[in-house]
């Protein structure tokens, strides 16, 4: 047998709900006991959850935080339909079948230490996981920019970290990242206090515009969020000639590469190809996904 490296890399766990916290606009933080997933997960990875035994299909959710020591994984999700609403009804002590970790993770490059993390809405979780990994790796200097058109699922506060090249009035930050020493800023069209008034990608453009060429050559962009935000992110990256990795979503059945149900069209040197979001992604090179 030649290559069996893929074998036994995903785990099925009967995960106990440790906590579930509700935030405005039906957003939830969910923590599950899933030691194998916690031990093996990498930023960009996701889990496939059985929200309720009555539903014939599982639901994919990005992994936001893990504690390999304590054996838990944490998610941030918005209740948008039947599956996520049933998940929101789970209480501590309940069980949720979890399949994970799944997917090709983000790949930051040390020669580009200025990592720009762009998250939109419930695309924020994988950016938090990546920020957590990068702050432990002293070679990187991440900056996180998050956008949302519903109240952020945390109590924003003025940042303790100065970031040059951003509008002076844009001071609101995510406390968790701030405590980690990772600067973050928030954007919204809803006029939330301390937030940039506009799209998160416009805030990114503002910052990049004010970097000198040498600093800009050290930037790599990572993004997760709604499709239009990812397209705008890819356009910004292209304008500044920056490498860019995006995390995509598509409906999933198996989530292990078996059904080819979750594909996106990508451009490859050999022509167009259909790639599976679950195991060929969910992280893709933005230039392969978004045309000029």
């Amino acid at each position: 047998m030649s290559d069996q490296a893929h074998r036994d890399t995903i785990f099925l766990e009967d995960a106990e709900v440790l906590s579930q916290e509700a935030y405005p606009a039906e957003q939830y933080f969910l923590r599950l006991r899933a030691p194998e997933c916690a031990r093996h997960a990498l930023p960009g990875g996701f889990a496939h959850l059985r929200c309720d035994p009555l539903l014939p299909m599982r639901r994919p959710l990005s992994i936001m935080r893990v504690s390999p020591e304590e054996g838990w994984v944490e998610f941030l999700y918005k209740a948008v339909g039947e599956g996520t609403r049933l998940l929101a009804a789970k209480r501590p002590g309940d069980r949720v079948s979890l399949l994970g970790p799944i997917g090709r993770p983000f790949e930051p490059h040390p020669e580009r230490p200025r990592v720009l993390l762009i998250g939109g809405g419930v695309g924020i979780p994988p950016m938090i996981f990546l920020a957590d990994a990068l702050r432990r790796d002293r070679r990187f200097r991440p900056l996180a920019l998050f956008g949302s058109e519903v109240p952020f699922p945390f109590q924003a506060r003025p940042s303790q970290h100065l970031v040059g090249g951003l509008p002076a009035e844009v001071i609101a930050a995510m406390p968790l990242l701030d405590d980690w020493g990772v600067p973050s800023r928030l954007a919204s069209l809803q006029g939330y206090a301390g937030c940039f008034s506009g799209y998160v990608t416009d805030l990114a453009r503002h910052w990049l515009d004010r970097l000198d060429a040498a600093a800009r050559a050290q930037v790599e962009v990572f993004a997760c969020g709604p499709h239009p935000m990812l397209a705008a992110t890819a356009a910004v990256a292209r304008d500044f000639d920056l490498p860019c990795q995006v995390s995509l979503e598509e409906f999933m059945a198996c989530a292990v590469g078996g059904c080819a149900g979750c594909v996106v069209e990508v451009r490859t040197p050999a022509g167009p190809a259909m790639k599976r979001v679950c195991v060929d992604g969910p992280v893709f090179d933005a230039y392969q996904v978004f045309a000029d």
Binding site: L12, A253, C259, M274
Partner: protein
């Protein structure tokens, strides 16, 4: 890694001269080209008697645009559109990486013309593949597929062409989207089919009311999962009437999600039982079904699972309380 332990000899069956360790078969299109589910710790192809690979055509196919799948009550729709890298790639690059010591591998042959079916079968004939399943029931491609499968004469022509291309076991996969599945089975049998897969998916649609469009990119898709099980069982029963005297085995499939379902298919006339959609919510379901079947054999003092095949005892027409003939639809 074989975590399922020693295979239980009472579950083993003989299928067209092939030894299956258990009557369970992993279904085409649900497990890629055989290795995808082994990503999951605890999953082993050894827990299946055979694994059917994804539908394969002569040239590579990109498949349909998204969305390709969608949840439905007790099931799902799919319209993958036979995305595959083409038969030559499968034979040269994929088959050599499969471990034929773990299970039997069955190719799933698809095409748009009779000639294409012939050619794909011929190329698989010249490979280590154990058997071939002729997919004349794919509802998700414009030419071929179900267009052939819903017409007994066309089905027979495809089977006859494939028969000329190989002496390996040929399994014809029948469509439920037709009025008389039994006469179609008879025509395929006379053209040289060694076995049948019953059933493929039923055509269906789901509408996004906000956009007023079908959810599925291909507009329509094939329905699978528990929702189709009663239909599949009746079709297996009907095809079994044709197959019984010829000792032609059936892989019963459609909505199997536990040992109880598998037993129903066996009793209705199946020699083997397919598992597809159920894997999506319980990827480690195979050992559970195997155990459930073994427990049933114990409880009923049955020596071998093959004794169950076709053991269904129909009610006599008079016994029906309403006095309806058994063929009466509903009422």
């Amino acid at each position: 890694m074989d975590v399922g332990g020693e295979p239980n000899p009472r579950l083993s069956i003989e299928f067209c001269g092939l030894r299956f360790a258990t009557p369970l078969v992993l279904l085409s299109g649900c497990v890629g080209f055989g290795e995808e589910y082994t990503r999951i710790r605890g999953f082993s192809n050894r827990d299946a008697g055979a694994v059917c690979l994804k539908g394969t055509t002569l040239a590579p196919r990109l498949g349909n645009p998204p969305h390709r799948i969608c949840e439905t009550p007790a099931g799902m729709l799919n319209a993958i559109g036979l995305q595959n890298p083409g038969v030559d790639h499968v034979v040269r690059e994929i088959l050599p990486k499969l471990d034929f010591g773990e299970t039997r591998f069955i190719a799933n042959v698809s095409g748009s013309t009779v000639e294409e079916y012939y050619e794909v079968t011929r190329r698989f004939d010249d490979s280590p593949i154990d058997a071939m399943e002729i997919n004349i029931s794919c509802p998700n491609v414009k030419e071929g597929g179900v267009a052939f499968g819903n017409d007994a004469a066309m089905s027979a022509r495809v089977v006859a062409a494939c028969r000329r291309a190989t002496r390996k076991p040929l399994i014809t996969k029948l469509s439920p989207n037709q009025t008389d599945i039994a006469s179609n089975a008879r025509a395929c049998l006379e053209s040289g089919s060694d076995a049948f897969s019953v059933i493929n998916t039923l055509m269906g649609m789901v509408v996004d009311v906000e956009r007023r469009t079908p959810v599925i990119g291909n507009n329509q898709g094939g329905l699978s999962g528990p929702a189709i099980k009663p239909i599949a069982l009746l079709k297996v029963h009907q095809v079994y009437q044709v197959c019984r005297d010829h000792r032609v085995p059936i892989i019963g499939q459609g909505g199997v999600a536990g040992a109880q379902d598998a037993l129903e298919f066996l009793i209705a006339g199946a020699s083997a039982v397919g598992v597809g959609t159920a894997l999506f919510y319980d990827p480690l379901i195979l050992p559970k079904i195997n155990r459930g079947i073994a427990d049933y054999l114990d409880r009923h003092g049955i020596a071998s699972v093959s004794e169950l095949t076709g053991s269904l005892r129909l009610h006599a027409p008079e016994a029906s309380a309403c006095g309806c003939a058994p063929s009466h639809p509903g009422g």
